[in-house]
Amino acid sequence: MTFRATLKATTTAVLLTGATAAYADGHATHPETGEPLASEQTFVYWVGDESPSFDPGLTEDVDGSAHARDLFEGLMNQDADGNLIPGVATGYEVSDDGLVYTFTLRDNAKWSNGDPVVAGDFEYAWKRAASPELASPYSWYMGLMALENVDAVIAGDMDKEELGVTALDDTTLEVRLSQPLPYFPQMVVHTTTFPVHAATVEAHGADWTKPENIVSNGAFKLSEHVPGEKLVRVRNDQYWDNENTILEEVTALVITDENVALTRYLAGELDQTQVPAGQFPRLSEEYPDEAVSVPSACSYYYTINMTDTTNPALLDQNVRQALSMAIDRDVIVESVLAGGQKPAYTFTHWATAGFETPDVPSASMTQEERNAKAAELMAAAGYGEDNPLELNLIYNTNESHKSVAIAISQMWKQTLGVETELANQEWKTFLETRGNQDYEIARAGWCADYNEASTFLDLMDSNSGYNDAAYSNPKVDELLAAARTSDNPQANYTEVEQIIADELPIIPIYHYAEVNMQNDKLGGWPFNNFQQNWYSKDLYKIAE
């Protein structure tokens, strides 16, 4: 670089820096809430481990998705309540048969290198995510979206160019589905559908997400990534709505031990961390403004092996009913977990959008009534004090799962005289054991992929790959299939939940809550966003 060029570059850099002065310098208060803004706009939060990837096509975990939501922007975003709001797309139209969605993209969206974000970037990203060459662990999500030809593309039987997504021009993206999917727009909030910058991906291969290579289109860009230690992102001044971004810097700190993370939070090093199991009551007393518990889109349940490799007693519906009724869920959520979780008598999380938790008989009984009924059912099945039932229960190694398992086995013993042998297994071993139906009763949890009841209930489909109970009921399959194309699937969901509550291939135990310690000076956190999809561009720091 010659002297003149250096001078020019320096001047440009100085001018640019001047042009993108911190939001808080020019604005004393938040434009909507009127709260005074702190001069230092940073957000530091805890993550438990390094994410496998934040490449949109490959993202597979919650933390990696949070990184991706800041670094990239998809067609649609969610607001603080989880409602759809425009992202790169300003809106969409759907054909009468519900099979073709046409998204209109804004013309001022830019990549962090200044290139415009065009419909072709989405087309490229979606085809890449489904392609066997990328072999994404989340390519199944493209399948869930029911894109035209998606299964054949994933299977390698059809070229990825045949996938049902086409950029008609720079600002129009056409998506073709193989079946109508009423909740399709909700699905494009997911990171798998985010665009990627084709030239960068092609140039750097798997290394394109490294800080020195990455080009992204989100409100933030990657400035530093030390795997296992931290990931830092800073304001992206090319972002189309950059003038409304308030935070300057967002840092994810990897801290494996939750208790150390809590200590570091209390020392002021973090703005947000997870509360270790059982500590919420103490913390909410000591720090009432900082300890928060909000519903989180996951359900906790015990799955029962329904195949002939199981304990024969478990094939008796009376036994399953008795086991479910004898669990005092209030004790589990209030005494064992104590973090604002809610007892579950049905599978779908109560806070799922558009879902009304159906009435099931056991939910409205008192625990005494349930216990009495349970004892009766157990006796009817031929088990009692002189002929006690013996069961095996497995869970993945974790203190909280252990506490729940001990409490439940104790309840079964006291109410039903059941002898339960507990065993913990390391995660991958556990998944293998459970997936092969090499168990009697196993702990399980399921989190929503999108905010609609089918994300839970599809597990009960006899063809679902996640149906570890190996449960099969043609009626349930039929109801679920019909719900997929129905404009008002609630009736079907109610019926499925009632069948499940009756036949109990799974025993719902509780609905999760997200329990955090959070700096009370952090504003804009979407507590009401059920999927906890948060965007740093909506956050801000309030002045002391």
Binding site: D49, E50, P52, S53, D55, L58, E60, P132, E133, A135, S136, P137, S139, W140, G143, D151, I154, A155, G156, A206, D207, W208, T209, K210, V226, P227, G228, E229, K230, L253, V254, I255, T256, D257, N259, V260, T263, R264, L266, A267, E269, E426, W427, K428, T429, L431, E432, T433, G435, G445, G465, Y466
Partner: protein, 307 residues
């Protein structure tokens, strides 16, 4: 001596090869695989991934391909867990971190441990001795997974002197607590071994002779007693050094240092085959190398040993 070095290095090659094969077999017999997940992948997706990483090949071919890659290109393959990192990346990032805090811990453990041991022996049954013995017992019974969070509470939360974790490119503030937590129990062992070895040496005839010649105590200790007293210490220091520089999962977990120890344990949980193998080979090589160095040091310290 040269003969010994050549002989040992020749034996090292088959040793490493056996290590590789054994690890490979053990790894594959563990239930679950790198792509076993809570959401079992559809068969086609799993097949695509396995093809991408060569896991669809027969077992023997995987070993051959792996060893060939390592020997010919020094390529330990991609991580199965982290999509944008190769095993070489992971080692290149984590090992220098571990080496740095491990080296400092070793140095401090040696200096403090040996000094403490020598003085305790010289002042046997004095308050200094009792203090040193008390310290060593205390430091040994306090495991580092208890000490680590305690250090964070004291230095970060109460005193606010040090950052509670992170590596920050190796800044000294970030290194203080990891080094204390890692070195203390080694320090205690070194002090204890030094003390008893020193006591034994101080009671031997040649020391009495040296004293009879009218040499000062300081001279006796430094010139005559220290070297023979170091023999048992040395046999402890070799493995201790390897232990410290090959990483401690406890340190990495509690201080978020990003060292190789946590990567190693994580790779086992994640069934990240290539990372397990890469780190196993690295640690195996280091162990062989440092054992050889310790053997050579023996010969230097003890004239009775000749190879």
């Amino acid at each position: 001596m040269l003969n010994l070095i050549i002989r040992r290095l020749t034996v090292a090659i088959p040793t490493l090869l056996i290590l590789v094969i054994l690890s490979f077999v053990l790894m594959y017999t563990a239930p679950g695989g790198p792509f076993t997940s809570e959401r079992p992948l559809p068969a086609q997706v799993l097949a695509n991934i396995e093809a991408k990483y060569g896991l669809d090949q027969p077992f023997w071919k995987q070993i051959v391909n792996y060893v060939t890659g390592v020997v010919t290109q020094f390529d330990f393959g991609p991580s199965f867990q982290y999509k944008d990192r190769s095993v070489n990346d992971i080692i290149a990032q984590g090992f220098p971190v571990t080496l740095t805090y491990g080296f400092w811990s070793f140095l401090i453990a040696c200096i403090v441990g040996i000094t403490l041991g020598v003085f305790a022996a010289l002042k046997q049954n004095s308050w200094l001795d009792y203090l040193a013995v008390g310290f060593t017992i205390g430091a040994q019974v306090l495991p580092n997974f208890v000490m680590a969070p305690m250090l964070v509470i004291v230095f970060t939360l109460w005193l606010g002197w040090l950052p509670g974790g992170g590596w920050n490119g190796g800044a000294w503030q970030n290194m203080v607590m990891p080094v204390i937590a890692l070195s203390t129990s080694y320090m205690a062992s070194i002090a204890r071994i030094t003390r008893s070895a020193m006591l034994e040496v101080l009671n031997s005839n040649f020391i009495r002779t040296a004293q009879a010649k009218g040499l000062s105590m300081r001279r006796v200790v430094i010139r005559h007693a220290l070297k023979p007293a170091m023999q048992p210490v040395l046999s402890y220091l070799g493995p201790a050094f390897v232990g410290m520089i090959t990483g401690s999962v406890i340190i990495d977990v509690y201080f978020s240092t990003g060292g190789i120890g946590k990567e190693f344990v994580n790779s086992a949980f994640n069934r990240d085959y290539s990372v397990i193998m890469g780190i196993t080979i690295l640690l195996g090589t280091l162990t062989i190398l440092f054992n050889l160095i310790v053997d050579l040091l023996y010969a230097w310290i003890d004239p009775k040993i000749r190879y």
